[in-house]
Symmetry: D3
Subunit: 240 residues, 6 copies
Amino acid sequence: MMIRADQRQPDQLRPVTFQRGYTRYAEGSVLVSFGDTVVLCNATVEESVPPFMRGEGRGWVTAEYAMLPRATHSRNSREAARGKVGGRTHEIQRLIGRALRAVIDFDALGERTIRLDCDVLQADGGTRTASITGAYVALAEAVNGLLRDGVLTVSPLKDSLAAISVGIVDGQPLLDLNYGEDSKADVDMNIVMTGSGAFVEVQGTAEAEPFTAQQLDAMRALAMKGCAELAGMQRAALEG
Amino acid sequence: MMIRADQRQPDQLRPVTFQRGYTRYAEGSVLVSFGDTVVLCNATVEESVPPFMRGEGRGWVTAEYAMLPRATHSRNSREAARGKVGGRTHEIQRLIGRALRAVIDFDALGERTIRLDCDVLQADGGTRTASITGAYVALAEAVNGLLRDGVLTVSPLKDSLAAISVGIVDGQPLLDLNYGEDSKADVDMNIVMTGSGAFVEVQGTAEAEPFTAQQLDAMRALAMKGCAELAGMQRAALEG
Amino acid sequence: MMIRADQRQPDQLRPVTFQRGYTRYAEGSVLVSFGDTVVLCNATVEESVPPFMRGEGRGWVTAEYAMLPRATHSRNSREAARGKVGGRTHEIQRLIGRALRAVIDFDALGERTIRLDCDVLQADGGTRTASITGAYVALAEAVNGLLRDGVLTVSPLKDSLAAISVGIVDGQPLLDLNYGEDSKADVDMNIVMTGSGAFVEVQGTAEAEPFTAQQLDAMRALAMKGCAELAGMQRAALEG
Amino acid sequence: MMIRADQRQPDQLRPVTFQRGYTRYAEGSVLVSFGDTVVLCNATVEESVPPFMRGEGRGWVTAEYAMLPRATHSRNSREAARGKVGGRTHEIQRLIGRALRAVIDFDALGERTIRLDCDVLQADGGTRTASITGAYVALAEAVNGLLRDGVLTVSPLKDSLAAISVGIVDGQPLLDLNYGEDSKADVDMNIVMTGSGAFVEVQGTAEAEPFTAQQLDAMRALAMKGCAELAGMQRAALEG
Amino acid sequence: MMIRADQRQPDQLRPVTFQRGYTRYAEGSVLVSFGDTVVLCNATVEESVPPFMRGEGRGWVTAEYAMLPRATHSRNSREAARGKVGGRTHEIQRLIGRALRAVIDFDALGERTIRLDCDVLQADGGTRTASITGAYVALAEAVNGLLRDGVLTVSPLKDSLAAISVGIVDGQPLLDLNYGEDSKADVDMNIVMTGSGAFVEVQGTAEAEPFTAQQLDAMRALAMKGCAELAGMQRAALEG
Amino acid sequence: MMIRADQRQPDQLRPVTFQRGYTRYAEGSVLVSFGDTVVLCNATVEESVPPFMRGEGRGWVTAEYAMLPRATHSRNSREAARGKVGGRTHEIQRLIGRALRAVIDFDALGERTIRLDCDVLQADGGTRTASITGAYVALAEAVNGLLRDGVLTVSPLKDSLAAISVGIVDGQPLLDLNYGEDSKADVDMNIVMTGSGAFVEVQGTAEAEPFTAQQLDAMRALAMKGCAELAGMQRAALEG
């Protein structure tokens, strides 16, 4: 069996940490790390919803994602300086928002928006899945604040949410790819699951070689194991 | 068993047509329709590659996607007028290009770019999968032209490529959702496959309800049937 | 006398066709062709007017114009990708809207907007005049729908509207220039006329050589003949 | 016969002045006024041409046009602040450049660009025709400098160029409309002519009522008279 | 002691002129020149305030700044053409607005905005300080109009405002640097003062060499002398 | 004497920390905090210079600045989403770059660029001065790396650089204003100094009340004390 550069087993996550209350002002603020991937996830509660939803008594959850210019080995120019949000960023922030909305009861949230900002401070692969996993904790922090303050009496959280990447490298299915593994993977897949084990998003891409149904099943099994472990760590972080 | 509004069986495609040579000037030009979804796919051959690839003797394939403002029931404003390409468009055109690149041998293509423009004239659901399926035929037309003209002696096409949407509506897995079905689906999935039956992209999203591994398997089976049928129609269209 | 590449007489139009109801959702939808120039003209009825006109009970008509990237011999990049609408496009869509407004009674239209989208699928010269000529038919289709549905009881159309290009090539005044003729013309002129024979726009440009009053008169005469023929075809298409 | 608000005859120009050398640094600099319309026209000589023309030994002339925000009765926001050049500006600056190019011999100019900046300091109608008329003088100043410095030995100016607006107000054809007249005109026409009396551009628009061939002839006659007078004043200004 | 290229003493201003009523339509319009630096300052009175200030009965003053493309020795491209306002422009227009607001009583102004447009026609150093000095006169003209028309009964002007540049060139502190001096200065400082001699802005930058407290004091003394002289000229201009 | 909300003396800095090596990939990476203001300063070394400097053997230093959306009490929208860099950001990043360049010997640096990214994670006043102070340490880290690797043999750092804000609140000059103090200050001043005690930038603004020469002197004295203390802490951090 293949030995990973960082000595992990094929089905082993990198060390994962959640640092709650990382900044002072956000209603929820979590610094999440998956190995050397570090993302600051801040939740903002706004007492309004987008124009097309006004007056219906239902809430909204949305997300934005960005990387600091020097989160990576070589520097990327800022999207603000280029004057537009790039395609990859659009794709990722749409994914994060859509995934979080799957575990929210918008009637219970009431006519307010929770906005998640995921800013990658350091990137070593898996930034979108780390963002989702951290953003859920920041979202839960913000919801807990609303419950504590009596703004809400029932939690709008229907379930917890975590995400992980899986892939096939040199024919071997691997869990939680770092950048070095990701850049040589034949297949790259991101899976988002609820705490109770259902699928919210499955996105698999043949980077180099089309893949078989058997490979798809093997990656799915790894992801289910990884997401279950992440759900446990999220619970622990929120109770801590 | 549920009866679909257009009388189709759950595992039945809409009528699919490919009209080759639809415009005069493009190196490949196909008007593809899946029921009332109509997409014009034009292939352009350019004797250059993006700057970062120059001098390596390898080719490139890329795609752009747009909808005409009145392709849909109500009018959408133009992205040019808004001054930027939207997130959904970015996501779709990245998908089309990435999928097509999975069946191309870039060394065999040589230092040239084939650019696929997918413009939706009428939209009734499944525009991204129709775009991929039609773009493959336009790409093959363009490649055949290069072979016919002696620019290439060996085809860079490693396999054919088709895509289809599947979903779960009222608990029932369905193949090839139209707009009405798509807008009430619990799960929406797009699958891209090679003609030889391997997976290139799998993108499933829980729009309303997270889904189980069993549901994922059922949708996968429908998609495999649909893509196999599409591959046959593509072959017929290219031989015609 | 000069023989045109496509065997036409100097005062002869290319074959002109109007395909009504080309797409399903627009209130008016016409695929117009002048030889190899093909434009899809869609009319959208909106029950509102621009902010500066609200509350006055008067309507508005406006137009947008675009070319698909591969409508032409070589590909043009998309204006959405470049992040702005170009000068030529601005100039053309302002012309189309202004010309159509000359035949509309805005009081009779009432406080609603009709928006014409002219998308060029294939370009062989004269795309702006084909757009105006086709857009009038789509506009009339949309107005007829409003009359049929009882939204309007009196037609706001004061007259019909058609446009044609004329020019001077090798000293010879010609009607309805195709791309090959246009690119070597000394003078290029676009004329928009009502069905009753009055002028709405006259735009003549010396591309290579300044022109005389006599040449201006000769081009005007050709245009009057061409517009009269187009008005007849429009009538036939709308009765068909 | 109608009496104009400023006591002019129907065929009378407003007072026209050319102030040469208005700024110090430009190779040609002319402040032109037509009554209360005041435009600063600066010519810049650049020893290069656009990329698509390099190495052919031929020159280029181009123009840009803008209005200061408070050139008009009420303030217009800056195009820089809005982040894009508007449609009207595009249309006008394309017209100015195209018209000037009609009187230039690009082989004689050699591989250099002359760039005309027309900035409207005060606007009382006819800013585009004043811009063309003033820009010609600035262009001639710049060309004279190149001749004086021995950079050129033969003038690339084939003819002089002037422009004027004409229109129909209350049924009366008028020359050189001011803003008050322009805003109630049924027809508005801009005509650009060479010093030797040939037409370079004819742009007529029915603002309120379509017009007849007779009205077109009457406006043309007024414009020919006005342009001839302007050509004389330009000659005088350049000799002064 | 160093002799300046234009024979000025180190503590001597360039010739300064204010031409009031330079354009007809603006509520205040002043062409200000400091030697060869010429700026057109127009004041516009608007009967509204920005959204965040509505309903509070208080006014607002803001400014925009731009250079004509050929105000300088070599041409600069237009910010509108580049699609964005540059960093230097942002910095200068924020400075002008902020400085003017320091001498306005917003309660006395009432719920209206005065907007100052400073457009540099010719630039020979010190355009930002000339803009502030001229904009104050245009602002006072506009305020005087409001008083004359009875819109205001008490002047909202708390003091007058002038600005000047100072610097250190070859070790010598100099007042009112022209472009040639500015481009070789070790230190460049802009100081904005009220007519009664208090400081509103102090902005000093070591372009080449950090500076001492003594040098700062010497520059401050020159600026105080220059601003006092400018305040006298402004008074004279407004009385004239 | 006034008591500050956080019990500091008028001439006392907030607690200042420098965390070196905060991220892994940047050539210099420092997390700097001034009380609750936290800025991540990353230095990137690039082996090239801007086009206008090529071939001269001299280096360049530049900076970019941004705030995370939820660095502040209420959320600010992203500049990338708005499609442009705002005026305040432009002003600040120009200041940071200009200040750092004052302590660099560009000949000694050689033809390479050091780019400083200052991203504010949390903002409680003084973000621009904290950015400069932290960026200097990141810059020194990057330079030390170049010396250690033998790329440079002589340090291009001519001096160290620190910055601090001072202001006048309720008539009392204060050092290092936090957000609460800054928002009610009459005068706000930012001063940048070298380690050897010379001035690099002095930027003072009367937010509410113009200020006297005496007040300017008092603020200057506070800033000199603060910058001297910061220079000592920087030295300690770089030796640590």
